[in-house]
Symmetry: C2
Subunit: 386 residues, 2 copies
């Protein structure tokens, strides 16, 4: 059981009848690390939190959904700061040890009256079993909450990791409208914490795409409050054990985000194997995963494998059409520069579709995960301001 963290989630009026503001706090200042969107337009809460995270310590975070506080200028920065000041005042912290995150519509100023009243309400409700409320309060077009935990032991002492995330649309590497908050009671060195987070994010949230669109607000935070009292995690075997558990949590959250993507029916993986280098393999995998024609073919369960080849071939790479082998759900469909007769009923029929391209030009490999494109995605994004 995760020690020393509390959370809550309330409705403050940003969204009709749904929780839209959450607070997560540690009993004592926690070590903190984070990874943020690489978008040039960074939302105000990203700008504010990014600066504070460099100090490596924080009490907690306040998060709202329904409004991204992005492209809101100086006022937006000030509003994000006020959110942290409000929470700091209530808890008796210094504001620079409180973080902030937002998600929702871009370019609209935050209604600060509702927000500050919401922070007051939420602060009163923080409790050790408030994580589901928090998980609910951060959702946008998500249909369900996203949580995962892991437990491991250090010299017989139980160490816990809990991850909470939101996703939905605009999910693309480096990263996009996804927020994730990972809490651990581990005693861990700050450098090791930063390193582990970056590696876990690269292998999970940076490998999924719902629509190829990058967001202004993506942030992944990890808080480590040391309440487990274990021998400090720094490097070697102990670090590997921590990283493995962290990756279990981030991979699970990433898959939950993909499956609950806007309008998503089918999730798929694109493995690129025996490539010249892993960068090239990743570029090809990502291009295939983001191709609207591949995405619609998977939605329609149409074994139109030529679209996969066309997408892979559109990247400038060492790919040689004569050497490429293509497998869909383990069925070979293309080899030696020509199609292989395959049974269409064995392809694109599963809930999780596997695309594998073997380039036969080297020994590097990579994987990327995508989701199909449906009428529902278009409906959600055309007819609602999200």
């Amino acid at each position: 059981m995760l020690r020393g963290f509390m959370a809550s989630g309330v409705n403050c009026g940003l969204k009709e009848g749904k929780k839209d503001l959450g607070i997560m706090l540690s009993e004592s200042p926690a070590k903190v690390a984070a990874v943020f969107t690489k978008n040039k337009f960074q939302a105000a809460p990203v700008i504010v939190s990014k600066k504070r995270v460099t100090k490596g310590e924080a009490w907690g975070i306040v998060v709202n959904s329904g409004n991204a506080n992005a492209a809101t200028g100086e006022q937006g920065i000030r509003d994000a700061e006020i959110m942290t000041e409000k929470l700091a005042n209530l808890g008796g912290f210094t504001p620079d040890k409180v973080l902030v995150a937002s998600t929702g519509v871009i370019g609209v100023p935050l209604p600060m009256g509702k927000i500050t009243r919401g922070i007051e309400m939420a602060y009163k409700k923080v409790r050790p079993d408030g994580f589901e409320d928090f998980a609910e309060a951060i959702l946008t077009t998500d249909t369900k909450i996203k949580m995962e935990n892991a437990v491991f032991t250090v010299d017989g002492i139980e160490v816990n990791i809990l991850g909470i995330a939101k996703g939905a649309g605009m999910i693309e590497p480096n990263m996009a409208t996804m927020l994730a908050f990972i809490l651990t009671d581990a005693v861990i060195n700050i450098e090791a914490l930063r390193d582990a987070l970056q590696r876990a994010v690269d292998a999970s949230f940076n490998r999924i795409s719902v629509d190829g669109c990058q967001s202004t607000n993506d942030s992944v935070f990890i808080f480590a409050n040391g309440k487990a009292g274990n021998r400090e995690i720094k490097d070697g075997q102990l670090f590997e054990v921590f990283l493995t558990s962290l990756m279990k949590v981030t991979h699970s959250l990433a898959m939950q985000i993909l499956k609950d993507g806007e309008g998503v029916r089918t999730v798929f993986s694109v493995e690129v194997e025996r490539a010249t280098d892993s960068d090239e393999a990743l570029k090809i995998a990502r291009r295939v995963a983001n191709s609207n024609l591949v995405k619609t073919a998977i939605y329609g369960k149409d074994p139109n494998f030529g679209r996969i080849l066309a997408a892979a071939g559109s990247i400038d790479s060492s790919l040689d059409p004569e050497k490429v082998e293509l497998y869909i759900d383990d069925e070979p469909v293309f080899k030696n520069g020509a199609p292989v007769r395959f049974n269409p009923s064995k392809v694109f029929q599963r809930d999780f579709v596997r695309i594998k391209l073997v380039l036969n030009t080297g020994s590097a490999h990579s994987i990327f995960y995508g989701a199909d494109l449906t009428e529902e995605y278009v409906k959600i994004n055309a007819h609602y301001t999200t």
Copy 2:
């Protein structure tokens, strides 16, 4: 009136009840230049025609729709060659002076019996007014034929250009499932012809995107048979006059392709101005034009301008959020790092939407054209093998 070219279009059974095979011939060998897809997977007809075009002379071309003859291996190459041999035999040409193009589904062998009978039928029907039949025979999911012409004079002699194209889905630079055939009776130097075609393609077909997907078959051919008898076009003012007329034709065809894109309701332009360099400006314009979130916002007439900023900001560039100005349909919506109050009824309401990003970091500019993303696009591409 264009001199010395003939064409025809027939149904040979690749598609039900619709023309699917066309022939275009010149009365005498024409100078020829072409630009082909940069996809690593090049269709068999692209491989065959690309080699022959380097010689700079051809009698004409045979084109089929309904099957792309792509990812079809050695057999595909042989089939493409047989198509040219069949036409060469009928006309008494050498096969290496006959070109070939195909469009349609990828990875399925051509039914050569139907094709060769179709070439016989179509050859019997070639006539100087057969261009509309030809234009019809090359269509796939296009809903209308695409033609444009231009006339200019050299020393009082009338010179004609006629362009015919097909597009629909998979339209993306460098280029994608688009075929264009441009015929001119101009007397023109072969180097000038190649140069003019490349420039015209870069400014037109390489500036449009329906779905960001690149095709295996894209080809733009230009045939110049010299029947106008004008003073040879080589360089200087005469070249400029030719280029201007050619660009009029290619721009019009590109816009016709975009407007008739799969499921397209609204076409839009993305202008990026005052950028550091034109490459950067083009990258940003193209990214915005290809963003599924921007495309669905335009479809839904939802003035969610944050999506435009997020797409522009996702490119690694010199863009500075504080300096960017964003205009939609001439309304300023974002300036000095903050939103500008605008009238939503003036934004995204027209048939042709104009997005303008002024970066204020330099003096370069670029333009790119996109189309909205609708449920209809998803339907077409999910439920029909195209």
